[in-house]
Amino acid sequence: MSFGSKVNHVEEGVIAFLLTVMTLVTFMQVVARYVFNYSFIWALELVTFLFAWLIFLGISYGVRVGAHIGVDALVKTLAPAKARAVGIVATVLCMLYAAIVFYGGWIYVAKMYEIGIMGEDIPIPQWVPRLVLPLGYAFLFFRFGQVLYRLIAGKEVHLLGDEVEEALKLKVDTDELPAQGRE
């Protein structure tokens, strides 16, 4: 397994793990309240942190697997050379976006670090969970950079995901109606 695909595996594992823990903690909270008449005060804050990590670690993964949707109706009508040029412009703008938020997020986390506020219910400094913002956007910048590199090198690459293809995965293999429907 190459280094690249190992990283991909880790990314998938991390976001799936975050979603699972979020769901289970929220579920346990309901069970604890009704069955044991008890509630974990840290549950909500923990789930919120996990949610932030899921979103902001997930966005760069989303670029790699083509999960982010957009409108490609116009780009599709262009000749390949023009489409490639437009693609390069679009990708550079995406990198600009990632860079701006990375920079803003960095200033923000640095301020939180200086002030040193602690979490409301969880005894860790606030800047720790918020670190995911600059971190995630740095990864996002890197992934858009990869798209740009491939575009310039003339390799086939898509900036946008295909929602239709995604939905069609659900297509049922057998095209038969359930047993009693066929008369």
């Binding site: 976001i15 899921l54 997930g58 957009g70 701006i100 938020v101």
Partner: protein
Amino acid sequence: MTTAALFVMLFAFMLLGMPVAVALGLSSLLTILVFGHDSLASLSLKLFETSEHFTLLAIPFFILSGAFMTTGGVAKRMIRFAIACVGHLRGGLAIASVLACMLFAAVSGSSPATVVAVGSIVIAGMVRAGYPKDFAAGVVCNAGTLGILIPPSIVMVVYGAATETSVGKLFMAGVVPGIVLGLMLMTAIWVLARIKNLPRQPRASLNEVLVAARESGWGLVLLVIILGGIYGGIFTPTEAAAVAAVYSFFIAVFVYKDIGFRKVPSVLVDASKVTVMLMFIIANALLFAHVLTTERIPQMIAEHIIAWGMPSWGFLIVVNILLLVAGAFMEPTGIILILAPILFPIATKLGIDPVHLGIIMVVNLEIGMVTPPIGLNLFVTAGITKMSIGEVVHAAAPWLMVLLVFLVIVTYIPIITLGLPNLLF
């Protein structure tokens, strides 16, 4: 000036083929950097705050619950039950397809997924039974839009979060309109089937109905848990979603056995992927909405409209047209987050109920899914039937008329929407 810059950049970025989320985020950031006073740090904080929104936290859980339930096996059970119930009517298979879409929508929550899972089985079945192919495709393409109207609906969660309207009330408000639209489509099919002399299925035995009901019942209990749990005050919509996700996992893996234990990780990865895609759009759309509000754009539009003395029915026409156009070009959650802050204050001043406005927006966005150029259901239907987009647009058009009539009814007869939530809450 600022407003113009904001929207011009948004459209330009989208046309360049940038992801919707980035187009929303970058146009907001650049507008604020050039015209505004907010610091970069506070804008980044806005993006981060999306994750601290308790209502929005329901979204990943509903997506996960849907991911476990959106399987061919569940679709087959719903279809079997639907055929057992209404298959013996004239045009029975088509009527059953609408019912199956309604049932499947209740557990999956996604319109395109409903079209694919139900459509890939029933369209072929209808064609074999002697229905014209475009008739079959048109019915499913439109019935699939019920996914966002019948609860649980992610679009409603987003509207609830954007306007601080009760998600529980919105879910309840979607039930009756969902059933009414289903019945309208079924009636239209029944009438057409008599004219075109379409076939009917043999009447199912009572035993078959009961067996099919029990089989699909496990999935439908989900709706009872969610609506009953929220209504009974047992849990919040967010908690209901988490309970639904755990329940769906249990049913899919241990009762239906549609998903083997080894496939669970891939379902989790898929659900995370969809969550991230949607939350990325939501985070950036919230930033966009923040720019609109700091520029006082909603207030200005509201003052103008009030000053013109526009009556509430006139305003609702404007809402319908605006949403129908927007729905043809953008993804539903993005539209809700951009337009809800603009429309909501006006509606409140004109005395329109926030829940009613929410349902009107959802129905408009449903229609956006079956209108070109980006109506997702059209593309998905083309994908499963191997028809061209043009053919699908043509096939869907007559049923789109039913949706438009329904939109007028929902817009001007608020009791359909508000009756149930007002009765319960």
